[in-house]
Structures are given as structure tokens and as C-alpha cells.
């Protein structure tokens, strides 16, 4: 505990140079823009920025990416409140109470509360990150090939289950498709080239970043252009209060604490991201509220719960990303790829090999939090202007970046082909209500699953029993079976009464 605090303070001191603060400022601001513009998601922002910052120093590059991530998740609340269109899926729950507040002329106050909620949620998450990650890493040191195999399976199953909009089946299919993508190219045990379809460029496999830029960038551009034009009616006459009342924040202390913890825990679950964190916090706050009837009609408590919940997911999703190399959300998957590019190997050894790195990440999150608090409370009018950029101008610009990004990493036109192909595939799958998070998770976990299974079978001389009898393995098996059972229609119907009605009413497809 004390060690964690010391590590955090030391890392913060090392990071807080004027140059780094400059990076924090522009990256957070850019993140808020990306988040507030419907059609630009946090995942896309982080993926594009990874390709464009790979020439920077390791710490600066990671700092910039984290600021983008935190900023984008927060920025989504702007358009949710002002336009009733969540800027990113993470803010779908925010619009339920944020937009009614704006209609009553309290848009400024709603945005201030959202800012405070986001900042406090991230801070709760940071505290839990520093507390949970080191013990989790030491537990993970006991993971062998058998456990890593089940961890990969668990990640796909739980992510497919929780993000599959109408049926978990589509989530599972998306996950399997991602795993299949990971099968392409040279495999990690015997270096045999699989499924290269006669194309030499595929021998090295499909890189995550071009695929993500396609599935989250190009696909999003296509989705935005495909949809009928939404009427943008931002009310720019903000006359009400732009600062949160401390009295309100104190009144919501339990809501904020609860939502922060729920958001962080949702973040830890592999591939289950900010949107679910927001819905889960919102549902929990409503159930324990003294005024549940206000929810959906402009409840400040509900707004705070949703924004605290989605922002707390960010540090939460980095907990498994750093200690297990299993991403807690889609943007965290990109961050793992970025860490590898910059020579950091996330996984159980990180606390031994680079014991201070975890605290650097916590300090980066903290700097980003300060960034959103400062910009969120001061630059309200600017963000409203940004919301008025017409999509005809914005979308081709985004696509231009989607072309530069993948090419910048490897200088191969092949990566642009990958981006385009995944864009088209992502568009079609998204229209058909397939969630994108399990697909991404599959691409990143495919090699782990493949290598762990075959390594485990070599260790046991082809015997399957250790996969079921070792204690941690057995635990994973039990959880996976329960998860799949919970996805079957009868169980699902019973459970669905808790969260589903809320989610379905405002479902925002794709992530």
C-alpha cells in the first residue's frame, strides 16, 4: 500500500516535465475531440495515434496514447449530453439523463458533473490499479501453459457473452473469427507457415494495428456515411453553471465510489469495455437510489454514475493488459500492441523486469485525468464548435489518417490492403450486430491460445487431464462452463431482467 503510493509519487515526479505536460495537453485535447465526435471512437483514436507516434520515446508515446484513451472516453459525454448522440458507445448511458438535463437548459451543469464524474472515476480506477495489479501479477506467475490456454478461452467466451448485443452466439462467432485471423502466418512453435493463401506478405501474419484501424476507422467512416443524416441541433447558448457543486459531489459520494469500483471490475474482465462499465454502474445506482423514478428524465445522480463508471473502466482494463497481456477493452488491446512496439513486454514478469512501469502507467493516467478536468471545465464552448464539423469534411479526413497509419508502421502497401479489407468486413459484421471487441481480442489471444494448448499437450505427453485437474485450470473451466450456461436462453431470460431493458432501449451497435 505504502510502497504503491511511493512508487506512484516517484513516477509522477519523473514524468512531470514541461515537455511531457505539453504532450499531455495536446493528446488529451485531441482525445476529447475524438471522443466527442460521433463516429470517432477511443479505439480508433488510440490505434491511429499508435502508428503516428512510434518514432517518439517509449514513455512519451505511451503517455500520449493513454491521454488519448482517457480523453476520448470522457469526450463522448459531450455529444451525449448536447446532441443525444453518444460520441463513443461508452457514453450511451450518459445520454439517458444528460440529454434531458440539456433540454431543461442545464447542459453546462450536466457537462460539469460529467467532467467531475469522469475524473473521480479514473482516480478510483487508478487507486485500484496500483492495489490490484501487483498481487495479480504474482498470482499470474503461477500460470503455466495450461492456465494461459484457459485464460485465452475465458477471454473470448466472456467477451463474446457480454458484448454480443442480441445473442451471445454472435459474440462467440466474432471471437472465433478473430482467433482464425491469428492462425494466419508463421506459427510460434515450429515456425510452420499456415494459411498464407499463396501470398508471401501473409507469412508474418496479420498485424493487429492495421486490422484495428480498418475495423474501427474505415468501418466507422462507412457506417457514418451509410446512415441517414442525423439532425445536429446543438444549443450553443450555455448560460447555466459550468462548475460542479461540491455539495452535489459529496451527496453522490457513495454513487461515485460504487460506480468507480464497478467500472474498474468490469474493466478487468477481458474484452469487456467502457460501455458495459457505464451500463452496469448506471443499473446499480438506479437500484440503490432513493429517487429511481428520476432516472432517464434528467437525474444528476444517474449521469454521474454513468460517467464515473465508464471512465473507471480505463485503468481497470489496463490491469489485465499489463499483468497478463490480456486486454480488458478494445483500446487496451491496441495499447498492448503499442507496448510491444516500444519494447515493453506486458505479462506476469512485468513487476519483476520493470517494477516501476506500472506506477508510470498510473501516473500517466493521473496526468490525463488532470487534463480532462482542466479542459472539460474551461473549454466548453470550443467543444460545441467542434461538434458542428460536418461529416462530409470529417470522414474523408479520418480515412486519410487510416491510410497513413498502417503504412507508417511498416512501409508496406500490404498493410493498406489489410486495413481496407478489415474495414469492409467490419462494416458488414457491425451492420449484422456482431460485436467488434471479441474479434480484436481473438486476434490478440489467438497466438497465446495456440501456443499454450500445444505446449501444454507436449508437457503432458498428449494427456488432457492436467487441463482439468490443476487447481487454477479447474477454476477457469468452472467459470467458463458457467458463463456459457448463463448465455443459454432460459438463464439469459432470467438474468436479462436486470440490465437488458436499459441496454436494449439505447443500444449503440459496434464498438
Amino acid at each position: 500500500m505504502i510502497e504503491g503510493a511511493q512508487g506512484f509519487v516517484a513516477a509522477l515526479g519523473a514524468l512531470a516535465t514541461p515537455m511531457n505536460l505539453f504532450h499531455v495537453a495536446w493528446a488529451t485535447l485531441l482525445g476529447i475531440f475524438v471522443g466527442s465526435l460521433p463516429g470517432l471512437t477511443a479505439t480508433m483514436g488510440v490505434a491511429l495515434l499508435t502508428t503516428l507516434t512510434y518514432t517518439l520515446d517509449r514513455d512519451v508515446a505511451i503517455l500520449v496514447l493513454i491521454c488519448m484513451y482517457v480523453g476520448a472516453i470522457y469526450g463522448g459525454s459531450r455529444s451525449a449530453i448536447l446532441l443525444n448522440i453518444p460520441g463513443t458507445p461508452a457514453s450511451a448511458a450518459t445520454s439517458l439523463d444528460g440529454f434531458p438535463l440539456a433540454q431543461r437548459g442545464q447542459a453546462g451543469y450536466a457537462m460539469a458533473l460529467a467532467t467531475a464524474g469522469s475524473a473521480l472515476g479514473t482516480i478510483v480506477g487508478i487507486v485500484l490499479l496500483v492495489l490490484i495489479a501487483p498481487p495479480l501479477a504474482s498470482v499470474a506467475l503461477n500460470f503455466g501453459s495450461f492456465e494461459f490456454f484457459w485464460l485465452a478461452v475465458f477471454g473470448i467466451v466472456i467477451s463474446g457473452q457480454l458484448t454480443g448485443n442480441t445473442s451471445p452466439l454472435k459474440g462467440y462467432i466474432a471471437g472465433i473469427l478473430g482467433l482464425m485471423v491469428a492462425m494466419i502466418g508463421s506459427e510460434g512453435i515450429h515456425a510452420h507457415v499456415r494459411f498464407n493463401l499463396g501470398i508471401d506478405d501473409l507469412n508474418g501474419g496479420i498485424a493487429l494495428i492495421p486490422a484495428m484501424v480498418g475495423a474501427f476507422g474505415f468501418a466507422e467512416v462507412l457506417t457514418v456515411m451509410y446512415r441517414r443524416k442525423a439532425g445536429l441541433v446543438a444549443d450553443s447558448s450555455l448560460k447555466d453553471r459550468g462548475f460542479p457543486r461540491l455539495r452535489d459531489l459529496w451527496r453522490f459520494k457513495f454513487t461515485i465510489g460504487r460506480s468507480g469500483v464497478i467500472g474498474t471490475l468490469v474493466g478487468i474482465i477481458p474484452g469487456v469495455g467502457e460501455d458495459i462499465g457505464a451500463w452496469a454502474s448506471y443499473a446499480a445506482a438506479k437500484r440503490s437510489s432513493r429517487t429511481p423514478e428520476d432516472y432517464g428524465k434528467g437525474s444528476t445522480e444517474g449521469l454521474t454514475a454513468a460517467e464515473t463508471g465508464n471512465s473507471a473502466v480505463v485503468p481497470g482494463s489496463l490491469i489485465p493488459a499489463l499483468t497478463l497481456a490480456v486486454p480488458g477493452s478494445a483500446p487496451a488491446a491496441v495499447l498492448i500492441a503499442a507496448l510491444f512496439i516500444h519494447g515493453v513486454r506486458p505479462g506476469p514478469m512485468i513487476m519483476i523486469e520493470q517494477p516501476t512501469f506500472l506506477y508510470s502507467i498510473a501516473a500517466m493516467l493521473f496526468l490525463a485525468t488532470i487534463g480532462i478536468a482542466v479542459f472539460g471545465l474551461s473549454l466548453t464552448k470550443l467543444f460545441i464548435l467542434v461538434l458542428r464539423i460536418p461529416r462530409e469534411y470529417l470522414m474523408p479526413l479520418v480515412f486519410t489518417l487510416c491510410v497513413i497509419g498502417p503504412y507508417a508502421l511498416t512501409q508496406r502497401h500490404f498493410e493498406i490492403w489489410v486495413m481496407v479489407l478489415f474495414g469492409l468486413l467490419g462494416f458488414v459484421l457491425r451492420q449484422m450486430k456482431y460485436p467488434m471487441a471479441p474479434l480484436v481480442l481473438g486476434i490478440i489471444l489467438g497466438t497465446l491460445l495456440d501456443k499454450s494448448l500445444r505446449r501444454g499437450l507436449t508437457l503432458s505427453d498428449g494427456d488432457l487431464t492436467p487441463f482439468f485437474t490443476r487447481p487454477i485450470s479447474a477454476g477457469f473451466v468452472a467459470v467458463i462452463v458457467l458463463t456459457i450456461l448463463a448465455g443459454t436462453p432460459p438463464v439469459r431470460r432470467a438474468m436479462g431482467r436486470l440490465v437488458a431493458p436499459l441496454r436494449r432501449s439505447r443500444e449503440q451497435e459496434g464498438r
Partner: protein, 156 residues
Amino acid sequence: MRFESATSDRITAAVFFALGAAMAWGGYTMDRLEIRQIHPASIPGLVPMILGAALMLCAALLFVGAREDEPEGEGSWEHFLVAAGWSIAYALGMVGQMPFALATAIYLAGFVGWFLWRDVRPERPVVTAAGVVVFSVVTAIAISALFRYGFLVRLP
């Protein structure tokens, strides 16, 4: 044709089933590397076989369980085709064949221009057209310069 209908679910189920079968077959016939004396449980085709079978199972369940969802607002196929076609032409056709800034300027002007004329129908076409051209050229040059000199990224 709508994306979220029982029919489209059945069609994709068939496609996925075929894909799963192809991968399972590919895994089954994959080189077992006997010459390298590897452990028979670590053959490269093992996981593709499992994944292929899993996808076939899921596809079968999808086919059986396909049912109508409440339809959502439909989009515009014309918009989609123009946006996709023009973007692909830019990414795969123009980039690399001509200077990046030029390709980007042409792409931006085409994209913005088409959608403005299609959706908004400007009242003063000459002024709007000039605005679009200026926007495209300035943006294309700015992006190229920013990434080349700011982020030290090599452009196509």
C-alpha cells in the same frame, strides 16, 4: 436487402459454416512435420481444426436460431457505395502512384464535393466549389507536412 434479418443471418451462417469447414480441412491436411520429429500433439494444424469445428457448430446454431429482429432505420446504399468505392480507389489506386499530397487533395475534393452536392445542394455553387477545393488542397498539404516533419512518419 437488410443486414439484420433472419435471411441474412441464414446466409452468413452458411458462409461461416463453409469457412469453418475450410479451416478444419486445412488444419487436418496441414503438414504434420514428421520429418522434424515433433511431438504429435503439437502439430500446427491442431488449433485450426478445433477452431474450424467450433465455427461450424456456431454457424449451425445461428442457422437454426435465426429470427427477425425489430428493424432499425435503414441507411443509404448509394452513400455507402460512393464512400467505400471512392475511398478504396484512393487507398489502393491513387496512393503510391502519385505524390501523397496530390492524391489526398483529389480524394478529399471528390468526397466532400459529391456529398455536399448530393445532400445539401449549395445555393451558391461556385463559392462552395472554390471552398471545397481550397479546403482539400490546404488540408492535404497540412497533413503531409505534419506527418512528414512533425511525426517523422514516412508517407507512401
